[in-house]
Amino acid sequence: MAGPGGQLSLPEDLNRRLLNNLEPREWVRPPVNYNKSMTAGAAATTPLVHPKWHGDFWFLLQTLITKDFRVRYRNMSLGVLWSLVNPLVMMGILTVIFTKVFPNPNIKHFPVFVLCGLVPYSFFTVAWTTGTTCIVDNASLLKRLPVPQEVVPVAAVLSNSIHLMIQIAMLLAIVILFGSGINVNWLWLPLIWALNLVFICGLALITSAMHVYIRDTRYLVESANTVLFWLVPIFYPVALIPQRFQHLYLLNPLAALVSELRQILMDGSAPDGSTLLQSALVSFVTLGVGSIMFQKLKASFFERI
């Protein structure tokens, strides 16, 4: 700080320098008709926080995604290899159990079959959990910088997708390894994964906003994920679900995704049109509900995080 004797310790002189074209003025009350009734009425119509954020949403989103990714892998020696270890270990265990302990002779290439379920499931659980806690985790940032808060859950979900790319590459490699070759229906893959991302972003917007108000939400999400392991066709085929429940069962976009992945990668056929349409509908409705809920709840985030 400016010490005595230096040229900085001459406030009068400096202020003159500062203000040589801005005459210091007596304080004038601003021309606002300030009275209680008016301001009380205005409080209700005060625009939401950050009415004008002059930034570049996509640049911010991309920056936050790469930031998350860098932070996650900076201090690891094995780095991204970890994203291959977990599904491979699970694939090994489930394959041993469901081919040796409870044999399933009807399912060809059980490792590929089970991996088609594990990759979407593990991505879903990790992305949803990080997406749920992200607002609270980033409290220090959100309380100090006026950014559009919805970017945070979306970035949290999407930052896991780099992880996902690696796992999908591994899945495709194993599919080829087991002899089911590449077919033209692989072109459906980007679409069905994109729908899944839309669905998870919607869920994350809902639960991250809820988590700010009720901190038990996180445990609710974790329990839901455990239950989901059994409600998604990971180690059993969709065909085992009784016919009259199948429609209901496939309303879950994650179950639909697994079923579509198996159709594309193992049967080499196009995904079922009605299932695809249905999961698109559910995903976008979830995103819509999530956006509206988040918009409504974000006004009081500041007081609660």
């Binding site: 400016a2 500062l18 210091p24 304080w27 601003p30 930034g55 936050l64 860098r70 900076r74 100090r144």
Partner: protein
């Protein structure tokens, strides 16, 4: 029973605390306002409102233009990332577009003067270097309103001089400054107007030198009364 259940699910309603009451002011282009007062007087709450981080429960806050708030050292910074990576994150958070970021990155690094540390993780930085980086980003995003909460104090004199010049140029260009500080010298150097808050209400508002003088007067008076009747202080502690 019902009551107990309700109490369990709904955390006990805290008594409402009014952090600011009847505070009205405006800061126009080229003007600068200092907010002074004791701890807990509502200074930071006022800056939070001005930064559009939260909404007032009553009243109106109107902010026109791009804001660069420097409310806490290292807000939005990640200690494991390098200086350069953090500059990118912070610039994007403060609202730079990709093109603006690439155009201004060199200016930011040059202004921060952290040398080769720009590629070192932030946890190796000193507090002063953190300030340099944060301030360099904040002023280089070309904001219309700069909001500073007591952070300039950790910089060395050379850097402070540089900040001062930047802020002077800033105000000449018709930008506004709102700052909070406990250092009256700094307040007098940076600002032409001051607002003295006490218990969430405006105690005095006007040209900076006059407000600072009054603030100092009341402070020395307070100390004088406390010194002359030590019994008062003692009885308070006993109670």
């Amino acid at each position: 029973m019902r009551q107990r259940l309700a109490g369990f699910f709904r955390p006990a309603r805290r008594e409402r605390f009014c952090a600011l009451r009847d505070v009205t002011f405006s800061v126009g282009p080229g003007e600068s306002l200092a907010i002074i007062g004791h701890n807990g007087a509502g200074k930071s709450t006022l800056l939070n409102l001005a930064s559009r981080l939260c909404n007032p429960s009553e009243g109106v806050v109107t902010v026109e233009g791009k804001i660069a708030p420097l409310l806490e050292l290292g807000a939005g910074f990640h200690m494991d990332l390098t200086g350069a990576e953090n500059v990118r994150v912070n610039a994007a958070l403060l609202g730079l577009t990709r093109r603006e970021f690439h155009a201004r990155f060199d200016d930011i690094v040059e202004f921060a003067e952290v040398g080769a540390f720009i590629d070192a993780p932030l946890r190796t930085y000193s507090t002063g270097m953190l300030l340099r980086l944060a301030f360099a980003v904040a002023v280089n995003i070309d904001p219309d309103i700069l909001i500073i909460d007591e952070v300039l104090g950790v910089g060395d004199e050379g850097f402070f001089q540089k900040c001062l010049e930047k802020i002077i140029g800033f105000r000449r260009a018709g930008k506004a400054l709102v700052c909070v500080s406990h250092s009256m010298e700094m307040v007098q150097m940076l600002c032409d107007q001051a607002l003295w808050l006490e218990g969430g209400e405006v105690r005095k508002m006007g040209p900076v030198n006059r407000v600072v003088e009054a603030y100092r007067d009341s402070y020395s008076k307070q100390r004088a009364t406390a010194d002359s009747v030590p019994g008062v202080a003692a009885s308070v502690t006993r109670a």
